[in-house]
Amino acid sequence: MNAEIILSVKDLEKHFNEGKLKALQGITTEIRRGEVVCVIGPSGSGKSTFLRCLNLLEEPTSGTILFEGTDITDPTVDINLHRRKIGMVFQHFYLFPHMTVLRNMTIAPIKLLGKDKATAEKEAMALLQRVNLADRADAYPSQLSGGQKQRIAIVRALCMSPDVMLFDEPTSALDPEMVGEVLDVMKELARSGMTMVCVTHEMGFAREVADRVLFIDEGKIVEEGTPEAIFSHAQEQRTRDFLNKVL
């Protein structure tokens, strides 16, 4: 794959508690346009921290992150401008409970991109149609099921037309019967050519959709490769141990 590099991470370190806890210990990788990267690893391995560093929700202790050529770890860079282009989906959805679904989706395009209400709502409705939730446009988040909430959270991020989408264990907080509907939306998104970085425990999804799988343990990338290489021919003992436990 020779597409343009969207995210380039170099020697990324993140320490908590003044260095007592080293969550990330030198992560280096590149994510290219259109690529779907799944990040797997045991809990506490730093994979969520890695993802949250990519849009600077966690401020890296050291290392650089180039997003479309700009070093976003530079404090003089206006991170808010770059975050518009980096969509994020959380484990616990974090829809805005005081707004309707439609308002949830249109507030950022209206306030940040200066779109007028009618245009923003038209685009939002088109996205709702794509995830079969057009009839819930006027509902409040509390009136939705977990699966519906997460699908709304995904399209809310898409409303900003991001260049890359980050998924932080998007199905971990869902009842089992709702996991499928969210994964289907993510698969459709991957097929449409969206660049995606997914921290996930859904090995089936990673195997089916990912172009590349990163296995992170103890804050380091232990192994990376195609799903085939990781799931069937893992080189590292730690990767094999982990996969034996979860598969």
């Binding site: 003089t76 975050r83 518009r84 805005f96 707004m99 409040y140 509390s142 991020a157």
Partner: protein, 266 residues
């Protein structure tokens, strides 16, 4: 001669002759002297109007200033450090840090000293040499005092909002202040509303302290009538009923607002 005066004359004669009054006659005497005579009811209404004005604007000042103080006390703001080299933003950082320190100092000061003292200092001290409407003094004193309490209530409301809400806002590209304004504060307001209602009621009642600087608000109006009629109970009870009416109506209105905000939870 009005019908009220016609009813009054025989009772007045009885009082002058020191004849015993029936309970209804005594009641009418109190009402006539303290409400009807010389249009004294107007004084209650004027006092009520002043109390309403002072309370309304003091609540407005208190809420806006209190919200700003609350935000200045959040760890996200007090621990904010600008790391770049732009000298203008470095200076802004210093100013912000001073404001955070001042917010804490201000809240301690305003909550820790009596409102009456604050009113006297503002009236005789700050505005001692300037002619300024006592109503404005009242709004400033009560508003500044209330803002300290509102600040702590709103801060509690803000902290009750899930951190993930901030992260969701920031991840969409909202700046810190914009996230606060559009996403956090509306949710904080909802959970702070019952305590805010409490504070507003307290504020309405505390404006009675302004009678100390001879602002003829509701308490002073009752007091003034007492000084004319020598009735110890009636004028104060009438003022009290009017305070009660105000606070009951406010409670009702805020209750309705609460229900409307709760609708989004169902």
């Amino acid at each position: 001669m009005t019908v009220f005066e016609e009813w009054w004359l025989p009772i007045k004669a009885m009082v002058e002759n020191k004849e015993p009054l029936t309970i209804f006659q005594s009641f009418y005497k109190e009402i006539y002297m303290n409400v009807l005579q010389d249009d004294r009811w107007r004084m209650y209404l004027d006092g009520l109007w002043i109390t309403l004005k002072v309370s309304f604007f003091a609540i407005l000042v208190g809420t806006i200033l209190g919200t700003i103080l609350a935000v200045l006390r959040l760890p996200e703001v007090t621990e904010l450090r600008y790391k770049g080299k732009n000298p203008l933003r470095r200076a802004g950082d210093v100013v912000l840090r001073f404001l955070c320190w001042f917010a804490k100092f201000y809240i301690d000061l305003m909550r820790g000293t009596p409102l009456l003292l604050q009113v006297l200092i503002i009236y005789y001290g700050v505005f001692g040499q300037v002619r300024v409407d006592k109503l404005i003094v009242g709004v400033i004193a009560c508003g500044l005092n209330s803002s300290a309490y509102v600040a702590e209530i709103v801060r509690g409301g803000i902290m009750s909002v899930d951190r993930g809400q901030t992260e969701a806002g920031r991840s969409l590209g909202f700046s810190g202040p914009a996230t606060m304004l559009w996403i956090i504060l509306p949710q904080a307001a909802k959970s702070a509303l019952p305590s805010l209602c409490n504070e507003f009621i307290a504020l309405i009642k505390e404006t009675s302290i302004l009678s100390y600087i001879a602002l003829t608000e509701l308490t002073k109006a009752g007091d003034y009538i007492r000084s004319r009629t020598y009735s110890a109970f009636t004028p104060y009870i009438i003022s009290g009923i009017l305070y009660l009416l105000m606070t009951l109506i406010l409670t009702k209105l805020i209750g309705r607002l609460e229900r409307r905000l709760r609708n989004s939870e169902r």
